[in-house]
């Protein structure tokens, strides 16, 4: 069921409270976990008190259903991952409260402190997503907040504060309904460039009246609005950006983009982009290495579903989930459309393997937003984590098996291209239904495994600590570029052990409106060391280090060697 047919069906049915009871009874009972990990809700314990403000007052504005995102970042460069949660705000004329994004500084003891005001980020805006990147290569991550209206670029001063440089950077010239964004160095000049997704041409002034019953306003489907092109801004290196959307071939006025992920699908060392579009074909922008891109999504078999239908793409991530050395792709879609899990066939084409992998059928009744590949149980195979939640509060009235709040799904990878949802087994708090949107991971407690951050629409943010129960080990790499961009975004890290290998791409963006930490984590199971690590930096240079002990992190500085850190 696509969004249009879903909403039409909604119009034809009355409320059915009994279905809630039926659904509650049909919900799977919690099972005793036999897994090697546990996800513990430490939101309150960590001192995170965040509530997303969608601004909903009854006007049923389209952006209200979509926010917001989150990020793990080390803004103060102390080696501990901090947290940023994006927020919306009340609509003009309906002011009830002041709401801003929240920046939480890691206290290094499992708790966080709200440093939003101190950092100069208590700025009201209708925020949607976040992209973190050191665009000026000063060693401190800067923040782009995508918004409905004017996006904001905050430069990190390196002193615990941020300065709004939107205007001076040249980004103020563009306003739209932006969603996901990412930093990447598309021209490999050592400077991070910026890619921004835009959804549709919408503004409060030009809101369209949509109704399911002919009387009351309801949320419109994206078909009601014109598409909007994504933007590509080239970093000039002087703190300003040049809009190269048109000249790079990115321009497409029909796109309705919600998610973007960076990948190197043709393995040429140049970053490509995969954009998830809502009710429009997905775009796979192939980097032509000359400053331009060419859409290869149709040829690659990733633009449409297997049935040739443009699905309602939301979040997207790309990673080497089958340890083949090539990135596969996950795209979350509307309910009844299933998650798209694309396996690389090795010749620049993809095949949707969601059904065979066991991800498709179980995601048919969920509406996915944020999605990330991560090795949750550190067994050496990337798992898939998805944040779910519907856009319509009354969905259960017409589809008894689909709720507004939906449990996240953690698909554990068997290592044989099959997955199993274990969300109900990793902790009661984790499997509680949520109206999930943003999703990011990062090792905030530096214990070697990745923890999870989830935002909800018009609700709280959740921090889940990952506790390993079986003693699986990991090895982590913090990459620092010198001639490449300092964040080393675009670098490929490949480790080899016992005749097998794993690879990770250092990347921003991915998921939905969110950004995970930049250090890469490899699960090693019970192994205590790896044979070697090969790093291909964004500029193409390759470095190799051998015989590294597991159970710790390493700092790799481009052309300057590798340094083991104490712990992670």
């Amino acid at each position: 069921m696509n969004r249009r047919s879903f909403l039409l069906a909604l119009a034809g049915l009355a409320s059915t409270p009994g279905l809630r009871l039926v659904n509650a009874l049909a919900a799977p009972a919690p099972r005793t976990s036999t897994l090697s990990l546990r996800l513990v809700d430490v939101t309150s314990q960590a001192g995170i008190q965040f509530h997303h403000n969608s601004g909903a007052y009854g006007g049923k504005f389209l952006p209200e259903t979509l926010g917001s995102g989150c990020a793990f970042l080390d803004y103060d460069r102390d080696g501990w991952q901090d947290i940023l949660l994006v927020n919306g705000m009340d609509w003009p004329g309906h002011k009830r409260q002041r709401s801003t994004l929240r920046l939480y500084r890691n206290n290094r003891d499992g708790s966080f402190s709200d440093v939003t005001r101190k950092a100069g980020l208590d700025v009201e805006m209708y925020g949607m997503g976040v992209a973190v990147g050191d665009y000026n290569n000063d060693g401190f991550p800067d923040i782009l907040i995508t918004c409905v209206g004017q996006n904001r670029l905050f430069r990190n001063t390196g002193k615990g504060t941020f300065v709004d440089v939107t205007r001076s950077s040249g980004l103020a010239a563009r306003q739209s309904f932006s969603t996901s964004a990412l930093w990447f160095d598309f021209d490999r000049d050592g400077l991070l460039d910026l890619f921004v997704c835009n959804y549709v041409k919408w503004s409060p002034e030009h809101d369209v009246f949509c109704s399911l019953d002919g009387k009351h306003k309801s949320y419109c489907t994206p078909e009601a609005y014109r598409g909007e092109t994504c933007w590509l801004f080239r970093n000039r290196g002087n703190g300003t950006f040049e809009d190269v959307t048109a000249t790079s071939g990115i321009f497409d006025s029909s796109s309705k983009s919600l998610g973007v992920a960076m990948l190197d699908y043709d393995q040429d060392g140049w970053p490509d982009l995969l954009v998830a579009n809502d009710t429009q074909p997905n775009k796979l922008y192939r980097n032509m290495r000359n400053g331009t891109f060419k859409d290869a999504a149709v040829d690659a078999g990733i633009a449409f579903s297997a049935e040739g239908k443009a699905r309602a793409g939301m979040g997207v991530d790309a990673a080497d989930f089958d340890n083949s050395g090539t990135s596969g792709v996950a795209i979350t879609n509307f309910d009844n459309e299933m998650i798209g899990l694309y396996g690389a066939l090795g010749n620049g084409t993809y095949e949707d393997v969601a059904m065979q992998a066991g991800v498709g059928p179980i995601s048919k009744n969920t509406l996915g937003f944020g999605c990330v590949f991560l090795d949750a149980d550190l067994d050496g195979a990337l798992d898939l984590l998805v944040a779910n939640g519907h856009i319509d509060e009354t969905v259960r009235n017409i589809r008894g098996n689909v709720g507004y709040a939906q449990p996240p799904q953690l698909f554990l990878n068997s290592g044989k291209r099959t997955f199993r949802d274990v969300a109900a087994e990793v902790g009661d708090g984790f499997s509680q239904p949520k109206v999930g949107r943003g999703l990011a991971y990062g090792d905030f407690d530096r214990d070697g495994d990745v923890d999870i951050l989830i935002t909800t629409n018009n609700g709280a943010g959740f921090l889940f600590r990952n506790d390993q129960l079986a003693g699986n080990r990991s090895i982590r790499f913090h990459l620092v570029g010198t001639s490449s961009n300092r964040d080393a975004i675009g670098a490929t890290v490949r480790i080899f052990h016992d005749g097998s290998s794993q690879s990770r791409l250092v990347r921003g963006g991915s998921s939905y409106l969110s950004q995970s930490e930049l250090p890469v984590t490899f699960g090693l199971g019970k192994r205590d060391r790896i044979d070697r690590v090969v790093i291909q930096w964004p500029n193409g240079k390759i470095e190799e280090y051998k015989n590294l002990a597991a159970g710790r992190a390493y700092e790799c500085i481009e052309a300057k060697g590798i340094t083991p850190l104490s712990g992670f």
Binding site: R226, T229, D252
Partner: protein
């Protein structure tokens, strides 16, 4: 006559019993030969049902083959129609819809270009146009592959020319935009591109309508084929049903005729056998009486005469001793003749009855065969007519003969039961059993059955749990007192 006599003797004495049927040609009696000819006449080949049944089978098979051929033709026609028309039409329509979608995307892009609310120059749309152009070219190439057979040259030329002109106009528009002449480019879009796009869209829509019409025609033709096939199926089924009914009726008729012939044949055979038995018995009775009465009297007279002649010869005379010797020979011959007479037909059967004959016969058999026979007699004896008793006696003879010659047993049990409503004779042994040696005694068994049937009784050949054979003859009492031929 010689053959018959030999046969009668064998039956009589229990040696080498042979059947009647195998020797039909040897009968001198007229009736059996006539019966045989009658049976042959009734089974002449030109009246066999095989021809009719084979004809029915051939007709049915021919009908099935013809119908299969017809259905194959119709299915081939349907397949051709569906693959060549319906499927190609469907694929063609899908490609035309793809073309239509691309044309719509072009229209939307041109609308956005004219709206001028993007902060980008018109050249920004060139990549978008290029993507659509590639998809449009691919769609048209595929469409031409599936639609080339039915597209008129004019239509192909019109579409190709229109598209070429459209892209030429697009190129010129972007050239103007690249030269900074955005207003001129927009004017070009308004004045030329949109009109060309609309014309193309109309042409494609017309092709889609044509496809729809063709699909309707194809559906109509397919429906007609289905109707025709359905009609033929009904006809075929009816014809098959009629053929099956006719064949079945004919088979029933032929079977009934066959069974009637078999029954008549069986009746004739039984009658023949019974007449043969009756003839044997009368012959043997005649010979027996002749031997007993004629030769017996003669030999007795010879003996008396020799005895008287001897009295006239002096004692010690050699003639007297020779006469005595001749007299002894005559006496011995007389004894043999009487024994033979008794063997051919026990005279005591008519005089003393069956019971006495059995009493006499058992020790005789024991002497001749060295069988140990346990003879039991039960019930109150009642008179048995000689004409009936002789058949019971013959059955006893044959049964004991079988025991002696074929069963391998050294002992036998004979039971004669005078039941209130019947006479029952049982001969039992513990030998090899009936099945083991039945093949060698087929004719003897047939004779026993025929005699039982002649008496209106019943004979069973049983296998007792202890092994061996039990022959049980049961004759209703009402038969026993009456005369049987």
């Amino acid at each position: 006559m010689v053959g018959l006599s030999g046969n009668c003797l064998r039956l009589l004495t229990g040696t080498q019993p042979t059947g009647f049927l195998g020797e039909t040609e040897g009968f001198v009696f007229g009736e059996p030969a006539l019966y045989a000819r009658g049976v042959q006449r009734s089974l002449t080949p030109n009246r066999s049902p095989t021809v009719g049944l084979l004809s029915g089978l051939i007709i049915t098979l021919a009908a099935v083959v013809a119908y299969s051929w017809y259905i194959t033709l119709q299915i081939a026609g349907l397949r051709e129609l569906q693959s060549d028309l319906a499927d190609r039409n469907r694929k063609d329509s899908l490609q035309l819809l793809r073309v239509q979608n691309d044309l719509n995307s072009l229209a939307l892009a041109m609308r956005d270009m004219l709206d001028n609310d993007e902060p980008y120059p018109l050249t920004a749309w060139s990549a978008q146009f290029q993507r659509i152009r590639e998809d449009l070219d691919d769609a048209l190439r595929r469409e031409e592959q599936v639609a080339v057979a039915r597209r008129t040259p004019e239509q192909r030329q019109y579409l190709g020319n229109s598209l070429a002109q459209f892209w030429d106009a697009v190129d010129r528009t972007f050239a103007l935009a690249r030269d900074g002449k955005e207003d001129d480019a927009r004017a070009q879009i308004r004045l030329s591109l949109q009109a060309r796009q609309a014309a193309l869209s109309t042409a494609v829509a017309r092709l889609l309508v044509q496809n729809n019409e063709r699909e309707e025609q194809a559906a109509l033709r397919i429906g007609q084929i289905y109707d025709r096939v359905q009609r033929q199926v009904y006809i075929f089924l009816t014809a098959t049903l009629v053929a099956i009914l006719l064949t079945s009726f004919y088979m029933i008729y032929a079977n009934r005729r066959l069974f009637a012939q078999l029954a008549a044949l069986s009746e004739q055979r039984s009658e023949l056998a019974q007449k043969l038995i009756a003839a044997q018995e009368s012959t043997l009775l005649y010979i027996s009486r002749e031997l007993h009465d004629e030769f017996g009297q003669i030999l007795t007279a010879i003996g008396s005469m020799l005895s008287r002649a001897g009295n006239h010869v002096p004692e010690g005379s050699p003639l007297r001793s020779e006469l005595r010797e001749v007299c002894e020979i005559a006496q011995s011959t007389l004894d043999n003749v009487r024994s033979l007479s008794q063997a051919l037909h026990p005279v005591m059967l008519d005089e003393a009855g069956l019971e006495s004959v059995v009493d006499w016969y058992i020790p005789v058999v024991e002497r001749q065969t060295r069988l140990v026979i346990s003879y039991e007699k039960s019930g109150t004896p009642f008179p048995v007519d000689g004409s009936v008793g002789v058949h019971i006696y013959r059955v006893l003879q044959e049964a004991l003969n079988n025991v002696a010659r074929h069963s391998g047993a050294g002992q036998a049990w004979v039971r004669l039961r005078f039941l209130p409503d019947a006479l029952e004779l049982e001969v039992e042994d513990r030998g090899k059993g009936f099945v083991a040696h039945s093949a060698k005694h087929g004719i003897g068994l047939v004779a026993m059955r025929e005699r039982a049937e002649l008496l209106g009784g019943r004979i069973d050949f049983l296998q007792p749990p202890e092994g061996g054979t039990l022959v049980r003859l049961r004759v209703p009492r009402e038969i026993l007192g009456s005369h049987v031929r």
